[in-house]
């Protein structure tokens, strides 16, 4: 019974919670600029949200903070309930590797690795030589994104849409609690973009991972369950 209660407590906790996040660049110099002015927001489990806003509103900065690639000037960021501000590089990297999946606009696959190896990278980084289970899981994901025939290909032998599918499979292989996508369809034609978006939806439902999608595309953001609008470094609607 207590196990059940614990599980419920964990479920009710948001995946991501931002508390008065400020971010400034060039601190202490005459060009010092504050990009984010106290962001408070949270993303719940299994939520499918879009982060929208005009260029220069601080979307990318916010995404980097959420992805633990950068740290805020002040405020606190809780990932799965853990405060992250005081973490050192190794702890951040470990948490990032285990609970966040990234999908970027420009696929960003490692050219020296095959599609399957690219998907396996996050697992190999965490556990070393991949087990048979890991390989099966990676292969399974590639099948789900429709690339069963291309597992052994290098990225430069794949089309843009195919590369993005590999990137999605890679982002999901660690079963992350949060999937971050930065303009994932920005580089694709509308038909392929729709297919890729459908994949996000599918995995959101299947694995129950929260999705935060940064996009310019109004059609895409409207298709999400929730829109977080960022204007001039502050949340205008969320």
């Amino acid at each position: 019974m207590s196990e059940q209660m614990q599980a419920t407590a964990e479920d009710s906790q948001p995946v991501l919670r931002l508390q008065a996040i400020h971010k400034s660049y060039n601190i202490g110099q005459p060009t010092e600029t504050e990009v984010l002015h106290g962001i408070d927001m949270q993303v719940g489990r299994k939520e499918f949200a879009a982060l929208i806003g005009p260029s220069g509103s601080g979307k990318s900065t916010l995404l980097n903070l959420i992805g633990l690639l950068d740290s805020p000037t002040s405020g606190e960021l809780f990932l799965l309930g853990q405060p992250t501000r005081e973490m050192d590089d190794a702890a951040r990297t470990a948490l990032r590797g285990s609970s966040i999946g990234f999908v970027f606009q420009f696929h960003h696959l490692i050219q020296a690795f095959t599609a399957l190896e690219n998907v396996l990278i996050p697992l190999m980084l965490a556990h070393g030589k991949p087990s048979k289970d890991s390989v099966d899981r990676a292969r399974g994901l590639l099948v789900e994104v429709g690339l069963e025939k291309f597992v052994g290909r290098k990225p430069n032998q794949l089309s843009g849409g195919q590369q993005q599918r590999v990137a999605i499979a890679r982002a999901l292989v660690t079963r992350p609690a949060l999937l971050l996508a930065d303009e994932p369809t920005g580089n694709l034609d509308s038909k392929t973009a729709a297919e890729v978006f459908a994949l996000f939806r599918q995995f959101n439902e299947k694995f129950g991972c929260a999705v935060l999608l940064v996009t310019h595309d109004m059609q895409l953001s409207d298709a999400c369950d929730r829109q977080i609008r960022l204007v001039d470094g502050a949340i205008a609607q969320g």
Binding site: A94, R96, G97, L109, A112, P122, L125
Partner: protein
Amino acid sequence: MWIEWNIAVKFLRESRSQTALILVGIAVGVSVIVFITALITGLQDNIIDRTLGTQAHIKVQSPDEANRILPAAAGVTQLVLEDKRAQRLRSINNWQQVMLQLDGLADVTAVSPVLSGPAFARRGVALESVALVGIDVARYQKIIPIAKDIVAGSFRVGAGDAVIGKLLADDLGLRVGDKLRLDAGRDAVTVVNVAGIFELGVRELDSRYVYLDLKQTQTLLGLPGGVTVIDVTVRDIFAADVVAARIGRLTGLKSESWMETNAQLMNALTSQSLSTNMISLFVALSVAFGIASVLSVSVVQRTREIGILRAMGTTQGQMLGVFLIQGALFGLAGSAIGSAAGYALVWAFNNLGPGLFYIPVSPSLVPIAMAIATVTGVVSAALPARRAARLDPVVAIRYV
């Protein structure tokens, strides 16, 4: 470690031409080092062999005789006009005891008492000045294996037999079995039978040495029971000076190592080693800079991929490892090829070269060269690797 290794190897394989170019560069450097080291070691061994093939490592002799001047009484000014004393032929006091003592030293491999003094060799009207060398054959052979340099007859002394040098034999027109008259002054004259002729390849020895039995020489030179020199060989020829100093302190005799006797040769050898080491050092330095620059370029080329890998969960330490391993692999693979090439050069020198001397191939040279090259690779990779590890993933991902 597995993943770092994996990524490093994949990176190297992907940028194939870059990898091939730097490997050739490292290989050329390592082959030069291997070849020049083998060449100089071979050359020096050869020179030392030739030098020490005809002389003892240490010569122990009586100290020079000096005038003893009585100190003047207090308050008296003493003016001294001193003539240096002539060094007469003298035996080493109590040489049997000294020899036994030297036999017991750990670093000493052979000890041989020798009595040597001047004489004239006469045949008919021809007269040559020679050096009589009275030896104990068994002991002397351990110092200078002269039996292998015999060109006629055999190495046999005693019972009126003598062994002489090739040039002396030519000058006096002697053949094995001929008689030779030796005159040591003071009416000490004897006739010996030429039992063998040797050729050491050293002019001074081949034209002057006459080997005799120790007893016969003692009689001829008027030093019954005496010897003038004790020849010594030691285990480590480059420690001969240390052993010589110890023998000097132990016996109170004059003890001179081959290094003192051949100071110029030692000087030449030392300078040669120094210049070899300098060449090796600078070649190694340029190899190191080559590795460092190739990896620096690679870090820039892969900035974006490094950013992605960091975002995927690669720690700074893992990133550092990836590039250090690349440096190590460069060093290892390059030195393997380079060692093979160096050996090929040595082979070519030995088989197709001028044939002046043979370069022996030391089996430890290759593993040492490879170990040093690998360490050099890792050290050279340190700077680029640090840069890769410190790349800000946010900046790196957006790098075009």
